[in-house]
């Protein structure tokens, strides 16, 4: 039996080795043929490292010869591909990083040949664009760690986004808007929790119903009230950017991390806080126990229902913060269906981040990067239709979900109702 398993394992390892090797080789050739041959020799690519209007200490920009850099990237990919085929490396994470990094560097160098590309600006906007995705992912992490799937994040974010902008416009107080967004997020999540815990409604069906309800409600309110009274109800302004003294002076990192608005600071704070709560406090231990084996947790005196209610509502409040980001955190206005699938992308980020707050944030950054890349490339007039660039985050989500890049295991009881 063990020998059988061992042979099966070696076969699997071999297959993985060959697959990664071939992918690396293919990537190298792809870079050479598509980017390398299309890059004119003698041109230079400028990567801007300073953000206009930021307080960071200015540093000199990074200027590289375009063609040489692209060829270098092709060379690196082919070298590692050949090495992988010949010897085999177990560190798949490093291989994926090489595949991603060579492609992105080559792609950007090619796209910005003879032009200037602001790298710091893009990294900074990646974080901004990752914020709603990260918040959706955190909402997912908190509720799914207690084994309740919440697929209605999109609907919750829409309702909160609208509540935030209407409250803030009416009262002129953005913090009141933020408060109501979080409150409403918690309330809708409480409805979800009540349906799936008390009535044992199928969790996915309840989530979908919340999405439909949220879309319908916000569109109804929008076309009935907001469109006619834009100035009174749908014009709130946004949270100002707050620079943190000293830290914001650091080049590159300063403008990226320490010149943001309150929603983004709260998000970063939440990531750290949730990590500590989930893994270093009694409540986190109870939550994870309820998510893995509710019966055992119940036997030891943990109130399974209470833990689930609290976690789902907490998750809803986090999603409410995410909703507030869309309006009072970024544009100051509500548009119908403005979340554009971010709630679902957040769920993919949660899975990719292995139901872990920090992992979820890291994978949200990848989606944020893909999202902001597409905007920058439109500015650079890359000869690829912008619609295809807009598809990138969705395609990345689908690839992530296949588990090709590392299998994720959900909490054991995820999605199952608990019966005493």
């Amino acid at each position: 039996m063990t020998t059988l398993n061992a042979t099966a394992n070696t076969a699997l390892v071999n297959r993985a080795r060959v697959t990664y090797g071939i992918v690396l080789l293919a990537m190298g050739l792809f870079i050479y043929f598509f980017f390398g041959l299309n890059t004119q020799s003698g041109l230079e690519t400028t990567f801007g490292l300073n953000l206009a209007g930021s307080q960071a200490i200015p540093i000199s920009d990074l200027v590289v010869p375009s063609q040489l850099t692209v060829y270098l990237m092709a060379g690196i990919a082919i070298f590692f591909g050949a090495f992988q085929l010949a010897r085999g490396v177990k560190a798949t994470g490093a291989l994926i990083a090489i595949i991603g990094a060579t492609f992105i560097v080559a792609f950007l160098t090619w796209a910005a040949q003879g032009k200037s590309f602001n790298l710091t600006g893009m990294l900074s906007s990646s974080l901004v664009r990752a914020t709603p995705i990260a918040l959706a992912a955190l909402c997912g992490v908190v509720s799914e760690r207690s084994a309740v799937i919440n697929i209605g994040i999109e609907g919750i974010m829409l309702i909160s986004a609208q509540a935030a902008v209407v409250t803030a416009s009416l009262t002129g107080n953005l913090y009141l808007g933020l408060f109501f967004a979080i409150l409403l997020g918690g309330l809708v999540a409480a409805l979800h929790a009540y349906l799936v815990i008390r009535f044992k409604v199928d969790q996915i069906v309840s989530g979908v119903a919340i999405n439909i309800f949220g879309t319908g409600l916000t569109s109804f309110v929008s076309s009935r009230f907001l469109e006619k009274n834009t100035d009174l109800l749908n014009n709130s302004g946004v949270f100002p950017v707050v620079s943190i003294p000293v830290l914001s002076k650091i080049p590159i990192l300063g403008p990226m991390l320490f010149e943001n608005n309150i929603v983004i600071y709260l998000t970063m704070l939440l990531i750290v806080a949730l990590h500590i709560v989930l893994f270093y406090t009694p409540w986190g231990l109870r939550t994870r126990a309820v998510g893995e084996h509710p019966k055992a947790a119940d036997t030891l005196g943990v109130n399974v229902y209470l833990v689930r209610y609290v976690n789902v509502i907490l998750g809803g409040m986090i999603a409410g913060l995410g909703g507030a980001y869309f309006t009072i955190g970024s544009v100051g206005r509500f548009d119908e269906i403005m979340t554009a699938g971010k709630g679902f992308i957040g769920l993919a980020a949660m899975i990719f981040g292995k139901w872990n707050p920090i992992g979820a944030f890291a994978s949200s950054l990848i989606f944020g990067f893909a999202d902001s890349l597409q905007v920058r490339l439109q500015i650079l007039r890359v000869p690829i239709p912008s619609e295809f660039l807009l598809m990138a985050p969705y395609i990345v989500t689908m690839i992530v979900l296949t588990g090709v890049v590392g299998r994720a295991i959900p909490p054991a009881a995820d999605g199952q109702p608990y019966e005493k």
Binding site: I149, L195, I204, A340, A348, M391, L401
Partner: protein, 394 residues
């Protein structure tokens, strides 16, 4: 309010009694409760409920006064114009119901196999684009070849959009809910590009050219009435799906996989093949929904063509309890609601989005019959619980 509810529940019990009444009771009460809460929303938004709901009724079925005068005209002068005008709202409701039948069947088929197809919207759009492409790009074919070809293209396009998440689910366990939604967004972006580029008709608007007459689904009545063979086709497809699910071995396999995949695997059924097959068929059905809309009603495709059909289809499948005949009934109901809501919007100024609110509520009530039973003090009955979906990649 409670008095009213109690009397309603009694009357519905009076109608019911048999097993059919038992099966219809919860959906009927769910719709009723949805309408009552919708009425509250209408009042809250400052409109007149009576005015709104009577506009909804006339918009859905037609004005009884016009029916009367139409018949009078037919018997006295032999003219049919008056009667045709009277049945116009009713036929429009059937026209609206046609894509709902197809799309609802698509989601219902998925449920039968334990798959949640939220991608009907994208499949619908891609199906419509494919049939439109065959419809306008091929010139000079006779109708008996061109029309089936255009329908087939729609089904194939939808099927392709369904196979991708189906395969990813079967092979990698990637959850179909997220993947079908991603496929929806990819379909929207792709259609943005197609309608502004390769498939754009000459002119300013991002729409496809009109399809050839040979690809159109024939209509039953002269022009303003748009009822066409698509409706009959939808009914036929619903019957075929019923036969397929309940009278064939393959249908039995699909239902077994849906009811208990582990048991089905031990019985030697191929789970992967069933998942891919069902998602392909479901995508094909949603594609046919788009095809019927473009070939029978609009004759061209524009942006936002499929807006809302995917989510409506979920409500339909739940409302119809994933049974083809139930879906047809639910689709007719939604056809009447949607068609009537258009008139309600123009006559009473109530935004059409109110229907989405009602739908969201109806889904919740159908999925949680306990709420309805508690609300109307119904006796709980033992019903066979069908598993609709599962957690991530299990």
């Amino acid at each position: 309010m409670t008095e009213k509810k109690k009397s309603k529940s009694k009357s519905s019990e009076g109608i019911g009694g048999g097993s059919l009444g038992e099966a219809l009771r919860v959906p009927a009460l769910a719709v009723l409760t949805g309408l009552i809460i919708g009425a509250i929303a209408i009042v809250a938004s400052g409109s007149n409920v009576f005015e709104a709901y009577s506009a909804l009724f006339i918009g859905a079925f037609g004005d009884p006064v016009r029916f009367f005068s139409g018949f009078q005209q037919l018997f006295t002068t032999g003219e049919t114009a008056g009667l045709l005008r009277a049945i116009y709202p009713f036929t429009e409701s059937l026209v609206t119901a046609t894509p709902y039948i197809f799309a609802g069947l698509s989601v219902a088929l998925g449920f039968r196999c334990g798959l949640f197809n939220i991608g009907a919207e994208g499949q619908f759009f891609i199906g419509a684009l494919c049939s439109a492409f065959v419809g306008y790009s091929i010139v000079g074919l006779p109708a008996y070849i061109h029309l089936p070809l255009a329908l087939l293209a729609g089904a194939a396009g939808g099927a392709l959009w369904g196979i991708v998440p189906g395969y990813l689910k079967a092979r990698f366990g990637a959850h179909e809910v997220v993947n079908t939604i991603m496929m929806n967004w990819i379909a929207f972006r792709l259609s943005d590009w197609l309608l502004n580029g390769p498939m754009k008709a000459s002119g300013f608007r991002p729409v496809t050219p009109n399809i050839e007459h040979t690809a159109e689904l024939p209509r039953f009545f002269p022009d303003p009435l748009r009822l066409n063979w698509g409706f009959i086709l939808a009914l036929i497809v619903a019957y075929v799906l019923y036969w397929f699910l309940f009278k064939t071995t393959l249908g039995f396999e699909i239902r077994s996989v849906g009811a208990n995949p582990d048991a089905a695997r031990y019985a030697g059924m191929n789970i992967i093949r069933n998942f891919v097959l069902v998602m392909a068929l479901a995508g094909g059905l949603a594609g046919l929904a788009g095809a019927s809309q473009v070939l029978g009603v609009d004759h061209w495709v524009g942006q936002g063509f499929s807006a809302g059909y995917g989510f409506d289809a979920i409500a339909l499948a739940l409302l119809g309890k994933s049974h083809p005949f139930g879906v047809v009934l639910a689709a007719l109901l939604f056809g009447f609601l949607r068609s009537g809501a258009t008139r309600m919007q123009s006559m009473a100024g109530v935004p059409i989005d109110i229907i989405s609110i009602i739908q969201g509520l109806v889904i919740i009530f159908i999925a949680a019959p306990a709420i309805i039973r508690w609300l109307y003090r119904l006796k709980s009955v033992k019903v066979e619980e069908t598993v609709l979906t599962r957690g991530w990649g299990k």
